[in-house]
């Protein structure tokens, strides 16, 4: 090794072993040490599902497009969780790292921004998958919500939703100047996004203009895609394109403007 020390200068660095797996693992551990995030992201949505599923009518409702309440709300709950993780938990974490100077410290190592962002992205997508599967199983076995019969369409739609939201989260993390600002932006975005997803008013009850607008928001495009998949209908191509576009644009801007330092 020693002879290499002085002579390797100028040669390309040897191929680097990861850093990415370690970074992802450590970030997961840190997340597991945040009980509040774990509660809101994992336990709360499933609990809410049980409360809503047990207390609402099991009859199809005309106002829900002829569907049962819980069938309409299951994808909304999925979106709620994904959004919370992507737009609230992750940007807050990254912004606090920047506030502390931890990102700058990382920038002095060979790890690089790409691995750091990839680790955050994988954690958001990974946890989202776990919660979505959990919600799907509970809603199916407890409340007879159909499992998606258009499986490929569902997987495509839900993964694109997750990457779109995670990319928006990275964008918030990149642009926010502090953890407080990240929290504020995340919070401000949360309400319109969830509104168009149908958290307060199901899309079926929205006026035609509102509904048209919602199809071009990430969660507004996601929810009907998932509901459709439940009934074997291929998610609308426009919806998938909308989700992919959000992912690409947000990622592009996030990596372009990512700052290690305040």
């Amino acid at each position: 090794m020693t002879t290499a020390v002085s002579s390797s200068a100028g040669k390309p660095p040897q191929q680097r072993r990861g850093g990415f797996p370690s970074l992802t693992l450590v970030e997961l551990r840190l997340l597991a040490r945040e009980p509040m995030i774990m509660f809101w992201a994992l336990i709360f949505p499933v609990g809410l599902l049980v409360v809503l599923g047990s207390s609402t009518s099991s009859k199809p409702q005309h106002s829900y497009g002829g569907l049962r309440f819980i069938v309409v709300y299951t994808p909304v709950l999925m979106m709620f969780t994904v959004t919370l993780l992507a737009l609230s938990a992750m940007p807050a974490t990254l912004a606090s790292y920047r506030d502390k100077g931890y990102l700058k410290r990382l920038s002095t190592t060979p790890v690089g921004a790409l691995r750091l962002l990839a680790a955050q992205l994988s954690i958001v997508v990974g946890l989202s998958i776990i919660v979505v599967v959990l919600i799907m199983l509970v809603s199916h076995f407890a409340y007879n919500v159909p499992l998606p019969s258009q499986v490929i369409g569902f997987i495509l739609a839900i993964l694109l939703t997750m990457t779109a939201m995670a990319s928006l989260g990275l964008l918030v993390a990149s642009l926010a100047t502090s953890q407080r600002v990240a929290g504020a932006i995340g919070g401000i975005l949360f309400f319109p996004l969830m509104f168009f997803a149908g958290l307060w008013v199901p899309q079926q009850q929205m006026g035609s203009t509102l509904r048209a607008i919602s199809q071009y928001t990430p969660l507004g495009a996601a929810v009907p895609s998932i509901t459709n998949s439940d009934f074997g209908i291929w998610p609308g191509t426009t919806h998938l394109i909308v989700l992919a576009a959000y992912t690409l644009v947000a990622l592009r801007i996030a990596t372009r403007f990512f700052r290690w330092d305040r």
Partner: protein, 327 residues
């Protein structure tokens, strides 16, 4: 993995005087002010090189340029023959940087932090061994938030060394530490140097530089005012002799002596500063005048004095320049 000590001691068998870091005419501008104004440095392998200066002198900016964290407006930098911006990854693998006031996530444990950073480098040191060396073994499972200032500082040094760097940059290493921890940290740095690492130490503590550094650069308003060993920088100013004189002495007689630069009376004591044979000349005069000096003190000027002298000189120049401009 080879034990760290073998590798490091092998490095010292290289030529000990070759330049590992060369900075030439570095300039960095923040808005209207030049934070770094034409800094040139040549740092040799295996030395502890101090960069000293008051707050805002441009110390951190200079080392951030060396570390590739900041792009200079002009000038060139070579680190181990590499360009910190162009050969970013190669430089990062060979350079360990301890940043001023950078924290880790609150809930990250000491051991986890070292394992994590070890994974970033091609041939890292053994985290367990580093923890042992820095007295962190007992704190292995302690979260960052629960570490004391001294422990955080030691962890920070450990992280700067985990990639087995050839050069370590330590920025404001002991700021905020109590005197006991400061001394302990100094011992650690000496230990690191003995392993053959080149260390750049950024500090505003004269005592620290005097204790640790082989050479120091005095930085003031973005310019280097002097580069030398701490002893030489002090010696350039000469000596100071002070005493209580009975009977009182005519200060003008003292001022007339060769090699005397300044004579003052402070709290009943006569204080004479000068160079060369000033002490001998003063004593000869005292004998001749039959004056008995009491509580005599002879001091070699320190780095501290050198620093004050150089910075006040520079400030006077600046003031003169700006008043000339105003006219």
């Amino acid at each position: 993995m080879e034990p760290m000590s073998t590798t490091m001691s092998d490095i010292t068998t290289d030529t000990t005087t070759d330049t590992v870091i060369a900075v030439d005419d570095l300039r960095v501008r923040y808005g209207a002010t030049l934070a770094v104004d034409g800094v040139s440095l040549a740092i040799r392998r295996g030395e502890i090189f101090g960069i000293l200066g008051p707050n805002g002198a441009g110390k951190t900016t200079t080392v951030e340029c060396i570390g590739g964290l900041r792009t200079p407006d002009s000038g060139s930098i070579s680190v181990l023959g590499l360009d910190p911006r162009r050969d970013r990854d190669a430089v990062r693998e060979r350079l360990g940087i301890q940043l001023q006031s950078s924290e880790l996530p609150d809930k990250l444990r000491v051991g986890e932090a070292l394992e994590l950073f070890a994974a970033f480098y091609p041939e890292p040191a053994d985290p367990a061994q580093l923890m042992e060396m820095l007295g962190l073994t007992e704190k292995r499972t302690t979260r960052f938030a629960n570490l004391s200032g001294g422990q955080r500082q030691r962890l920070s040094i450990a992280l700067a060394l985990i990639g087995r760097p050839q050069v370590a940059i330590l920025d404001e290493l002991t700021t905020g530490l109590d005197p006991q921890s400061r001394r302990e940290t100094w011992k650690l740095i000496e230990g690191i140097r003995d392993q053959g690492l080149t260390v750049i130490l950024v500090t505003h503590f004269m005592e620290e530089a005097e204790y640790l550094c082989d050479r120091v650069a005095l930085l003031h308003h973005g310019r280097i005012r002097a580069i030398d060993t701490p002893a030489n920088l002090g010696a350039g100013l000469g000596q100071r002799i002070s005493f209580r004189a009975t009977p009182a002495l005519d200060l003008e007689q003292l001022r007339a002596l060769p090699d005397v630069r300044a004579v003052n009376e402070q709290g009943g004591r006569v204080v004479i500063e000068g160079s060369g044979d000033v002490v001998a000349a003063v004593i000869a005069l005292l004998v001749q005048e039959r004056v008995v000096p009491e509580q005599t003190r002879v001091e070699q000027s320190t780095l501290d004095d050198a620093f004050v002298a150089l910075t006040s000189e520079a400030d006077a120049e600046l003031a003169a320049a700006s008043s000339a401009e105003a006219r």
